[in-house]
């Protein structure tokens, strides 16, 4: 019982009944003073062992400062992302400010929870920057201060806990909890993992999908405090590349999104096949170099020992 149960892949995205964009979006927050969130994902959508679409988009912008990566059933992900965008926009219109990433994650988790036990399969990470409006209003032009702000202040949860109800009625009246009239909003980068089984986790680094274990190993080795943006982006690309190499359900291209206090920006989509050939070239070059060095040493030794 024990070992088999404990190590079983229960939530495997390898089930061939679904149209699975089994991606492994890779996101992380930086902890350096220059704060940002990077989201990277592959672009392969598979269905029953075929590649249904080699150029799908798995990172869907939700609003100007929030981006969501999707994994699982692509139709479910696309639908729920749209529903989430709608609800966040309604919130913004009603309350005059954007809902934080934590609030958006809670909203999505509560909307998905009634479908637990059905075949709905959504594993999303929400990557966003909170507190834009306050920053804009209070600090015009003090960008370095904004970026250096640490996000340690607690945010007051903005969603009510809901009992089980079979229909996913999105909450129409979200109550604000304000402490003594002042709203505490955590500002800065934020990363949440939300799954259709109801999980909601906050963290600094997540990798999701069928290729995620391969990506985790690369990330855990490379991530450290004080990464620059370029280092982080190249690490994310590397992680996605390694995962697409090993995982059959991941591949084709990589999309990288970069989220800061000014919103999200998107890098051009890159073909990973090119990356594979480039790496092969690099390997060939290194082997050649090493062989030449070895021969040079041997020549030196043999010339030292003159016959």
């Amino acid at each position: 019982m024990a070992l088999q149960d404990l190590c079983g892949f229960k939530d495997s995205f390898l089930n061939s009944r679904w149209n699975l964009p089994a991606s492994h979006p890779v996101e992380y927050l930086s902890e350096s003073p220059i704060q940002f969130v990077i989201a990277a994902a592959d672009t392969r959508s598979s269905c029953n062992g075929l590649v249904a679409c080699p150029a799908s988009q798995k990172i869907l912008p939700v609003h100007s400062h929030l981006v969501g990566t999707t994994s699982g059933t692509s139709a479910d992900c696309a639908l729920w992302k749209r529903i989430l965008s709608r609800e966040l926009r309604l919130y913004q219109l009603r309350h005059g400010r954007r809902l934080s990433t934590a609030g958006a994650a809670k909203l999505l988790a509560h909307m998905l929870h009634p479908f637990k036990g059905t075949e709905l399969c959504v594993a999303a990470t929400l990557c966003g920057w909170d507190g834009g409006e306050q920053e804009n209003i209070s600090k015009m032009g003090n960008e370095t201060d904004d970026l250096a702000k640490t996000s340690e202040s607690d945010s007051i949860s903005q969603a009510e806990a809901r009992g089980r109800n079979p229909c996913p009625s999105p909450a129409m009246s979200r109550q604000h909890c304000s402490a003594g009239g002042k709203q505490l909003v955590r500002s800065g980068p934020s990363l949440y993992y939300v799954c259709s089984d109801g999980t909601r986790l906050q963290g600094a680094l997540f990798s999701v999908g069928s290729g995620s274990p391969y990506a985790y190993s690369v990330l855990d080795g490379g991530v450290r405090w004080g990464l620059t943006v370029e280092e982080a982006i190249s690490l994310a690309r590397e992680a996605v590349y390694r995962a697409t190499h090993r995982d059959a359900y991941s591949g084709n291209c990589v999309d990288v999104y970069h989220i800061t206090s000014h919103g999200w920006t998107r890098r051009d989509r890159e073909e990973l096949r090119e990356e594979y050939y480039r790496e092969k070239e690099r390997e060939r070059g290194k082997v050649k170099e090493r062989r030449e060095k070895q021969e040079g040493v041997e020549d030196g030794q043999s010339s030292g020992r003159k016959k």
């Binding site: 024990a2 404990l6 229960k10 988790a109 637990k116 009510e160 806990a161 986790l201 963290g203």
Partner: protein, 200 residues
Amino acid sequence: MEYLIGIQGQDFVLVAADNVAAHSIVKMKQDQDKVFKLSDKILLLCVGEAGDTVQFAEYIQKNIQLYKMRNGYELSPTAAANFTRKNLADYLRSRTPYHVNLLLAGFDETDGPGLYYMDHLSALAKAPFAAHGHGAYLTLSILDRYYRPDLTRDEAMDLLKKCIEELNHRFILNLPSFSVRLIDKDGTHDLEKLIPVGAK
């Protein structure tokens, strides 16, 4: 795969929970807090199926707070435990049962400290010590052997450390750290995280 433990002393309750949030073979988060504060003197520790734990625990948490807002006073630990169990029982035979295992620990002005064990079949038992998870198989006999009703805080802490060291030694899964809380007449206290030596 998750672990909860509670030990009731003379005038306090000591509880601990592991910090790992796992998805199949991957540890997605290593600093997950599985303890939910229901009120100043009541804590709910919740493990079980992935989404159910947080959903159910927050549902109970908000309802306890609602009771306080409506009636002006807080529920006692006994009442809170029975309320929680009733909710579990009501959902048990519905289409959507909650698969969660709980420990509720609280301090009552009149009754003193209390530890309540609840499981996913909505059983409820008031117990002097309790544990949930696969780790419970390894640690309950330690608790049986060394528990006394008049434990001091330090003795209870030592007993907790014994249990965690045994897990570190014998349990197949690596649980690197444990959050520890203490409830007494002064409320809830966060104690230092326990990190067994030898675990990364």
